[in-house]
């Protein structure tokens, strides 16, 4: 049943991706169908193909930074038409009626349906953007601004919203504020760009000095602190209004908390598997906070992409062909990419013979 599709799937927790034929549902009355042009490779894709979180079901077609061109719209679709440049991020459905959904925060709905590896309303499993086409409910489609190159815009749909949402929600978007970005990878580099576009002063915090030149001279950060250097940490104590922490390895929160001004906010967007040590004194005596954030709602994702269009913000990408994807995953595991792989789906993804 449904329409033919093909893509790349992991068949087991080795995580090796190989050609895979499957079917997508018929375009329903509220659905938008689009030809996938590009799909970003998010670190979550790597975790999911290897079943690091224990929630993966196989075969798994990853990809939730998907952009393309609309080829068909259902009869009740009002916001999009054939030929529009659109994208889909991490969600393709939610309950629509809970408190979170009514506030435009579908990402916090307990019944969020993720773009891949999740059960859809029709009991089928969702397949992501490492594939030739996507069918998605209009309510979860994002319009991509005309001026943004589609390949470099794709990662905004996950990395972009993941850092944009907490900057706005926690009031860390006022010109003149000073924020820190911990970790300079897919999330971190986009955080620097959005923060600079918001008029903030930005300090990149990293475990080694190797990315200093890049951070300051190419990405536009104002300063750089090596977290293992006690003197650099000491000199930067109590200077930051907020920190966007993108690191998902186990690490120490104490020096990061020290960098915050009193009442400062440490926002976790990376998700270490094991709990971290929480020194309580900085929270108690300096009223500092630790909070988490996860992607964003659809309305704010559109807002983020529109802001990116206005300020010409895109990700720094390495465009790869579909048959390079397994090598890309190996390199991603070693953080050997500046800063996001994007698959050139339309030009290089071929169905299995």
């Amino acid at each position: 049943m449904g329409k033919e599709a093909f893509g790349l799937a992991a068949k087991d927790n080795s995580g090796v991706l190989s050609p895979f034929r499957f079917s997508r549902r018929e375009t329903g009355e509220k659905d938008v169908k689009f030809k996938v042009l590009f799909c970003g490779i998010c670190h979550s894709d790597l975790h999911m193909i290897k079943n690091d979180w224990g929630v993966s079901t196989y075969p798994l077609v990853p990809g939730h930074e998907i952009v393309g061109v609309v080829t068909e719209v259902g009869s009740k679709v009002t916001k999009f038409k054939t030929g529009d440049k659109v994208g889909v991020g991490c969600m393709v459905g939610s309950c629509g009626s809970c408190d979170s959904c009514t506030e435009g925060l579908e990402n916090y709905c307990p019944k969020t349906i993720q773009t891949y590896g999740f059960k859809y309303y029709d009991d089928t499993i969702t397949y992501g953007g490492y594939s030739d086409n996507m069918v998605c409910d209009e309510g979860f489609i994002i319009r991509i601004p005309e001026n943004l190159p589609l390949d470099a815009a794709a990662p905004l749909l996950c990395a972009g919203i993941t850092v944009y949402s907490p900057l706005k929600y926690h009031g860390l978007d006022k010109p003149g504020m000073h924020i820190g970005v911990v970790g300079l990878g897919g999330l971190g580099h986009v955080a620097v760009k959005f923060a600079k576009a918001m008029g903030l002063k930005v300090t990149v915090i990293s475990t080694s000095d190797s990315k200093r030149d890049e951070a300051i001279n190419r990405l536009g950060a104002d300063s750089f602190v090596v977290s293992r250097d006690q003197k650099q940490i000491k000199d930067a104590m109590r200077t930051l209004d907020g920190i966007i922490n993108t690191v998902s390895a186990t690490h120490s929160l104490l020096p990061l908390l020290g960098l915050l001004k009193p009442k400062g906010k440490l926002v976790m967007v990376g998700v270490p598997e094991k709990p971290l040590e929480l020194p309580v004194m900085p929270l108690i005596f300096e009223r500092k906070m630790v909070m988490g954030s996860m992607i964003g709602g659809i309305k704010e994702t559109q807002e983020m992409v529109d802001m990116a269009g206005k300020h010409n913000i895109t990700a720094d990408i390495e465009l790869i062909s579909a048959d390079y994807v397994n090598t890309a995953m190996e390199r991603l595991e070693k953080a050997d990419v500046r800063y996001r792989f994007v698959i050139d789906v339309a030009n290089t993804l071929k169905p299995a013979p």
Partner: protein, 360 residues
Amino acid sequence: MAKSPETEHPNKAFGWAAKDKSGLLSPFHFSRRDNGDNDVTVKILYCGVCHTDLHTIKNDWGFSYYPVVPGHEIVGIATKVGKNVTKFREGDRVGVGVITGSCQSCESCDQDLENYCPQMSFTYNSIGSDGTKTYGGYSESIVVDQRFVLQFPEGLPSDSGAPLLCAGITVYSPMKYYGMTEPGKHLGVAGLGGLGHVAVKIGKAFGLKVTVISSSPNKEDEAINRLGADSFLVSSDPQKMKAAIGTMDYIIDTVSAVHALFPLLGLLKVNGKLVTLGLPEKPLELPIFPLVLGRKMVGGSDIGGMKETQEMLEFCGKHNITADIELIKMDEINTAMERLAKADVRYRFVIDVANSLSPP
């Protein structure tokens, strides 16, 4: 040569002090400064016994400077006021809380948040603005800059109102700051001791639904029938904890021992806030998944500024909120400290200073 506590200042003073980390308190002669132009001299009527007093006399946190005269929940009568003092007159009933000094010119002080001033000094075991050590409320009287003196509202009893000066503000300040006061919302209070029982009362006064979260099932009757909590959750009962997942908007966590945050974070709804007030000896373990998946927050807080402490006293006066106390004599303090170490008090000891403290 360094002056002794007795000769440091011109006026003789008497109280009880701990001389070493055994924490044993005994009579102690020292001295207080003259009442300066900005000062108020307070004859002490009552002083609450805060758990911090116990930690300090035993040097649990490693920065006690003996001899220590504890006590920062002080209620008394103003007996002298300096010529620049405008807010108080002799005979006023006043309170002194946890801090008695700050720089009075930094960003925090300008925002009435003296508790975050980097030069803030404590009522006891601290170096005051004049460079000398501060001695607290287990004594006959105290001399304090007017900025750090509070008007005690009429109708608020001196003895059971005293603990509000630390326990009350410690709970009230974060509830206001973190926006945990919306009527109808659901507050969890973890731990039912000095801080916890006041949190229940203040939570109810804000119109919140209040659930006490405790590892002791035997506190349920007390919590609901006497303190007015709406429900009671036994934290060691996995089934009950599971049923309560995602039901609370806020949690005030008063537990000071090392404890697990994971089950408490699970009780919060999306966007929920947990504020921790206890000072455990070791760092806590913070699981990141629940924070990220539910946009939850963990914050902390420590007392409050002078303006909001006054606001809190007015609020408690208006809503008849006082602490549940056990009044003791000064010479019963060591036994009280032993009992406090075992949490054997419902819920604050208060020393009847004026009636039981006398120099030998």
